[in-house]
């Protein structure tokens, strides 16, 4: 049966309408993952030396053992953020003569195929072979390996279970993070106990009594059964769907009324952003980007303007870039409705500018505290804010006219490549390079301030001439709209 499911899934993949594109995406992803794994391997290979450097005078294996539990705590946190729930669309199978546990086993089995499960083994294996095998022997080698595999599997199924719980009830997220924070603060802040000492003690004990490693396999089994039971009792359509049945109220955003129809459209789009999972996570990501400057500005080797230009562009323009690159796919589900309704293309585009301005201004306001690093930071941020509103908005909307991919709003954004295509990659080139093409030549000649001024002037020119470019965009939109609408109808 599992085989049949696998065949169905591969058919679903190959026969989907965007197959060609998604194959390319998968290849790119695969290369990225391979590269990451290669990095892991390099680290793993030199792990003994690294440990010697970081913990001088300590037995390598002891330091290794003391880090294991930390690693798996981090791992859990990362998994919680990024691991995808396996999604065989079970809907067409539920009413057939297929036992539920076949479905669940399939879901559990396929979910194992993730880099999260590969890294701990890859990371520890070279050290185990280099250090444990010659010094302690085969039994000890296996006992540590089995422990690590057991912990990996426990983490794997635990994160699946907790994620499903969180999907149904956000309280679980609070409980989960609360417990994690409690543990970490008990360790680092209150120094009540030490996870590293616990970890070292635990695994040194295992080294002495290798058979006890089976405890971790048992733990993995228990968590698997927990996850299994949970799935089994919840494998119903409505529950796999969202259980979000709370009362939805109609919200008003009064201030926007004064912008006429474009304002109404922005009000709608704000609702789109707030009420759907994927755009919401774009907003969260954008907010996280507000800390981007801390990485650069606290680094004393990073002087000069170019870093600020870069950071400033990203921080004030992150919404334009992150949200704008998928325009108009956000509205793919009701694009036909927009085309036949009494919304003129001009108002449609105006609303996008309004939205960009609104969010960029918020971002700019949020980055004002960076003035702590000097006035020039604030000034450059402002210049990049103008650049974003003048140039990047136009750029993003120009590319929006050639984006024909549908997006499902209800899915999360991490590692979600739906709607990603060539246009996003091509878009990123001028987006990243343009300000530097202007700034660098003047910087090299010794006039960095002139470079900044030029960026500001160009940004202003485009802002002032926006109406002209708007007309061009609308014209192009009128030609392309059939293609866009057709693309959006392909689910």
């Amino acid at each position: 049966m599992t085989l049949t499911f696998l065949i169905h899934q591969s058919k679903a993949f190959w026969r989907s309408k965007n197959t060609g594109k998604s194959v390319v995406m998968r290849v790119v992803m695969a290369i990225l993952i391979l590269y990451l794994l290669l990095n892991v391997l390099v680290v793993a290979f030199f792990l003994d030396r690294i440990l010697k450097k970081t913990n001088p005078g300590q037995d390598i294996l002891y330091s290794f053992n003391s880090y294991i539990l930390y690693y798996f705590l981090m791992d859990l946190l990362l998994r919680f953020q990024m691991q995808e729930l396996p999604t065989l669309s079970v809907k067409p199978y539920l009413h057939l003569r297929i036992k539920k546990n076949q479905l669940i086993n399939y879901l559990s089995l396929t979910s194992l195929w993730t880099t999260f499960n590969l890294t701990p083994i890859l990371l520890s294996l070279p050290l185990l072979i280099k250090v444990v095998l010659p010094e302690h022997g085969l039994a000890q080698f296996w006992s540590l390996l089995v422990s690590i595999i057991g912990l990996t599997l426990s983490n794997h199924f635990f994160s699946l279970w907790i994620k499903r719980k969180v999907n149904l009830n956000a309280m679980w997220m609070l409980i989960f993070f609360g417990t994690l924070i409690l543990f970490v603060s008990l360790d680092f802040y209150f120094k009540l106990f030490s996870i590293s000492a616990l970890s070292a003690g635990l695994f040194n004990f295992i080294l002495k009594n290798p058979l006890y490693c089976l405890i971790f396999l048992l733990l993995a089994l228990v968590v698997y059964i927990l996850n299994y039971r949970y799935l089994k009792s919840n494998l119903y359509l409505e529950e796999l769907h969202t259980a979000d049945t709370s009362h939805k109220s109609s919200t008003e955003i009064p201030y926007l009324n004064r912008f006429g129809k474009a304002g109404d459209l922005v009000a709608n789009e704000l609702k789109l952003i707030l009420r759907n999972k994927r755009p919401r996570s774009v907003i969260t990501m954008s907010l996280m980007f507000m800390f981007y400057g801390l990485i650069f500005y606290t680094n004393p080797t990073f002087s000069g303007y170019s870093g600020i230009v870069f950071c400033g562009m990203f921080m004030t323009g992150i919404f334009i870039i992150n949200y704008g690159q998928f325009m108009f796919s956000w509205q793919s589900a009701h694009f036909d409705g927009i085309l036949v309704s009494k919304v003129s293309a001009m108002d449609f585009f105006r609303s996008k500018f309004l939205l960009f301005t609104f969010f960029s201004s918020i971002c700019f306001l949020l980055t004002i505290p960076y003035v702590y690093f000097g006035w020039k930071v604030l000034i450059v941020h402002f210049i990049m804010f103008i650049w974003n509103l003048g140039v990047n908005t136009l750029l993003v909307l120009y590319f929006a006219n050639q984006n024909y991919r549908r997006i499902d709003l209800s899915k999360g954004a991490t590692f979600n490549w739906e709607g990603v295509g060539a246009s996003q990659w091509i878009l990123s080139i001028p987006l990243l390079l343009a300000p530097f093409v202007i700034y660098y030549p003047l910087n090299l000649l010794g006039y960095p301030e002139a470079g900044l001024a030029l960026i500001a002037v160009i940004g202003l020119i485009f802002m002032i001439s926006r109406e002209f470019w708007l007309n061009k965009l609308v014209k192009r939109f009128q030609e392309k709209r059939y293609l866009i609408a057709e693309g959006f109808r392909n689910k």
Binding site: H247, K271, N276, H334, D336, L339, V340
Partner: protein, 233 residues
């Protein structure tokens, strides 16, 4: 009101729509029937400028729909859920649509009670987003949104398909009333021959993209259509 000439659309070499000429007069109630794949939805989409025809044109009030946007002012349509903004509540959606036609919220709210029978207490003040409604209820939202626009042309693609019998009857009466009282041009497609022959004065029968019959409805029409479809099967 609507004029079609030499309208053609092909997909992968198969002609889906091929209509040399069709004129729909102001105030006519037209029913579009035909088996699946006859080209009804494609025709609708071309009339609404959602698909670019390979050749020919659709004129609405003498103006080509692909060139002028004036038709949007007086045309209301509901083909499928793709026309609804599904993350809004029905009320928000009605307000938005009303707003596009310069109706204030208060105005829209004052019109909504007229639909209370049609909605059967399942749409308004339920605290649900449109995406959480059943397909039938989504159809109701779409149809009501059309009515709010006070259109001169109304296009509905299989409006009877997902709704319950009582609502089907209410919808029929609603369409008959508005076309009689306000002289609205209505185009409805349906697989339910009883309903179309009852509502529509004129029936267009499509097969493989062509209009093969154009009948003014009379007492024999239903029989004639039933005969055509039973011969086919």
């Amino acid at each position: 009101m609507i004029g079609i000439s030499n309208l053609k659309k092909k997909y992968n070499g198969v002609t889906v729509v091929n209509i040399p000429e069709l004129i729909i007069k102001r105030g006519e109630t037209v029913g579009l029937v035909g088996n699946n794949g006859a080209g009804k939805t494609t025709l609708f989409r071309m009339m609404l400028d959602l698909i670019r025809p390979d050749s020919g044109e659709v004129l609405s009030d003498e103006k080509n729909v692909a060139e002028s946007e004036a038709w949007k002012d007086y045309t209301a349509s509901y083909l499928d859920e793709g026309f609804l903004i599904d993350y809004l509540t029905p009320e928000e959606y009605f307000h938005f649509i009303g707003g596009l036609h310069n109706k204030s919220k208060v105005q829209v709210d004052s019109e909504l009670p007229a639909f209370s029978e049609f909605f059967n207490g399942e749409i308004l003040k339920k605290g649900k987003y449109i995406r959480d409604l059943s397909k039938g209820n989504q159809t109701k939202v779409g149809v009501a949104a059309c009515m709010i626009q006070n259109p001169q042309i109304l296009m509905l693609d299989e409006p009877f398909a997902n709704i319950d019998p009582s609502t089907q009857i209410r919808l029929k009466n609603m369409v008959k009333d508005i076309s009689r009282e306000k002289h609205i041009t209505t185009i409805i497609s349906s697989h339910d021959l009883n309903h179309v022959t009852e509502v529509c004065e004129r029936i267009l029968l499509m097969e493989k993209g062509k209009i093969i019959k154009d009948i003014a409805t009379n007492s024999n029409t239903l029989q004639e259509l039933e005969q055509y479809f039973s011969v086919l099967s």
